[in-house]
Amino acid sequence: MALSGGVDSSVAAAELLRDGHEVVGITMRLWGGESDTGCCSIADVDDARRVAQQLDIDHLVFNFTDDFNKHVVDPYVQAHRDGLTPNPCIECNRHLKFDRLSERADLLGFDAVATGHHARVVQRDGVWFVARGEDPAKDQSYVVHMLPQRELARTLFPIGHMTKAQVREKATALGLRTAAKPDSQDVCFITDGGGRTAFLGSRIPFRPARVIDAVDGGALGEVDALEMVTLGQRRGIGLPGGGPKRYVVGIDHASATVAVGDESLLLCDSLAVRNVVWAHQPVAGPVAVQCSAHGAAQPGDLARDGDDSNGNHSNDNEVVITWSSPQRRVAPGQSVVFYDRSNTYVLGGGIAVG
């Protein structure tokens, strides 16, 4: 049981015990640097250990800082340098929780790995799927979308059937010390004090960029850090207030130029996705597509790249979504997750090409 020191994993551990499992709590030490909200602060590890004591289960701390730097932090920094908008929590799930930790769990003879994610694992016709959690406002199926069959078969999300309110109620009823602990926010290795700017600014050079009008090319101003600008962004691009809402509608890294314009310029009919991983096997046709952790899924039609008229395809890892109605463009680097038409089961997901 991955115990972060938060209320969700605390209750998840209690649920496993209630169901008769033999449980060991593991806290992963991931980030060696400064942290305030993250799961690696000493206070959070203390909370995890104290919860384990309350539940009378063993608790261990595994040091995965090297892997975290290699698979999460370094790629996060590099992505910003490349003008992408990465999602480090997804990479952490992909490489740490459901790779490093589950590999370690195998090694040590455990049958399953459990986490406190708000998502469910369900089996339909002999195939495992991640399904949305019970609480639509807290659903985290998006961030665990990448689990393959092998992982799903031994993954447990013990609070996926509960709402957040029920989780807190349960924690209170059990007297768990984390019952009233606030939800963690944002990226764990970035502090509230310094924010992304301080974190990235100390690791990559920021380039100033010109801000222009997307329609007529007229100069509108300047931003200090091109690497901090995201497609669709509305604030922090140095434009005066008032007037129609203007968005970042284009970023050109070669010429260090940010184009702004009204929302209509952000809309598009399709979305290309690469590095796709499938829950079971490649699919095509109508799907619901979610492009951010808390965004609503939109209907679209999925076609695999390279499909020919006979339905043969050359590449399962690259797909194109054709939206049912025009949608805002997705920042390159963001994770894109495909659900079935009922918007319940994860079919697969990948990275937006933009």
Binding site: T27, R29, C40, I42, V45, R49, D58, L60, V61, F62, N63, T65, E103, R104, D106, L107, L108, G109
Partner: protein, 384 residues
């Protein structure tokens, strides 16, 4: 919770079980003899006398004057006081070997001091020390541990002093002797140093008490100021029971040292030889003639120590790897890094350490459990 007897305890370098005589010695001071030794009544004087007698006992074992003993709250406090306190008093900066305990290393790093390279066995490199002292004439204190806490390597402090006499005659020499008390005659170390740190729980005493030996001419600014206890060198009400128990434990350790080593060294050899014979890819980290008798540090190829320690823990075998961080995770060992041990071996580093309660049964159980665990870890790795 399993009873203590259900454990196979191979982690004496982390802490030792208290000697029953030390427990008995401290109990009265936790109950009827509770007085504050700094008080002025006869009840207080009784406690004061117990501390003074304890001071005489430890001074005799260490080979120094009683007035040179400063009782502290831990070995860490003693280390901090020697390094930071002497620099605060005399100015300049500090140097230490790269394999020091963090209680020394972090002090030296904090003040921008120098770390000195070590040999592959972990001994301070005297040529590197010479170079450091020549390059940095502002070094006023040098700290070199008597025995390394991870791998058990013994440093030759007479040789260190010789180098200092030549290249930094005014600098003070501190030794963290926390891991030495069980294995080395402290009287042979003390003449070479200006400061010496001990921690009671490493030799059968209680936790939360230690001492700093500060030789007569070794000046330092105190870490704690206030009530002026310990001749203004360490303020804070004395831990009377702890000090009395520490003295009793140190007395017994010293009196029995030769006999204990004669019994424990063969057990250590049996453990390491048994591991090498039964587990392919086991490397003894430091040769036996370079380290203390209770130390059995090994590096095991192809496994991660976090996994192995989990499996040992499941089998109630207590051992450890490097120091744990504040969060409780294993940190990569700075000691092995400084010794130049290959990264893949560092991952499989495990410290077994024996002490006065160790038995042949402990050793045999340790070998059996490690052999099984390593075999399993490697089998799973190969098939997955």
């Amino acid at each position: 919770m399993a009873s203590p007897a259900a454990y196979t305890y191979l982690d004496h370098a982390a802490t030792t079980p208290m000697r029953p005589q030390a427990v008995a010695a401290m109990l009265p001071f936790l109950s009827e003899r509770f007085a504050n030794p700094s008080g002025s009544h006869r009840f207080a004087r009784e406690a004061r006398r117990a501390i003074d007698e304890a001071r005489d006992v430890v001074a005799d074992v260490i080979g120094c004057r009683p007035s040179e003993i400063v009782f502290t709250g831990s070995g860490t406090e003693a280390d901090n006081t020697a390094v930071l306190g002497s620099v605060a008093r005399s100015g300049g900066t500090a140097a230490c070997s790269a394999t020091e305990h963090h209680a020394v290393l972090e002090c030296v790093e904090k003040i921008g001091g120098h770390t000195v390279a070590v040999s592959a066995a972990g001994e301070i490199d005297l040529a590197a020390l010479t170079a450091t002292l020549q390059r940095a004439p502002d070094v006023t204190v040098v700290s070199v541990m008597a025995v390394n806490n991870e791998v058990g390597t013994i440093n030759d402090l007479a040789a260190v002093r010789k180098v200092m006499r030549q290249h930094a005659p005014k600098a003070l020499l501190h030794t963290d002797a926390v891991q030495a008390a069980c294995w080395l005659d402290l009287r042979a170390i003390t003449p070479h140093v200006d400061f010496l740190s001990l921690s009671a729980h490493k030799f059968g005493g209680p936790k939360g008490v230690g001492l700093l030996v500060a030789r007569q001419d070794a000046q330092f600014a105190p870490t704690l100021i206030g009530g002026g206890q310990e001749a203004e060198r360490r303020s804070g009400t004395h831990n009377v029971g702890g000090i009395v128990a520490m003295a009793e434990a140190l007395r017994l350790t010293d009196a029995n040292r030769a006999a204990d080593i004669a019994r424990i060294a063969p057990l250590r050899d049996r453990l390491v030889d048994g591991l090498v014979a039964n587990v392919p890819g086991v490397h003894e980290t430091v040769a036996r003639d370079r380290k203390v008798a209770g130390s059995a540090h090994v590096c095991i190829e192809g496994i991660e120590n976090e996994s192995l320690l989990f499996m040992l823990d499941e089998a109630s075998v207590c051992a450890s790897a490097a120091a744990a961080c504040a969060a409780g995770a294993m940190e990569p060992s700075h000691v092995l890094a400084a010794m130049g041990v290959a990264r893949e071996l560092v991952l499989g580093a495990v410290r077994f350490s024996l002490g006065v309660t160790s038995t042949e049964a402990d050793v045999d159980r340790g070998i059996e459990v490690v052999a099984e665990a390593v075999q399993r870890l490697r089998r799973v790795r190969v098939t997955s």
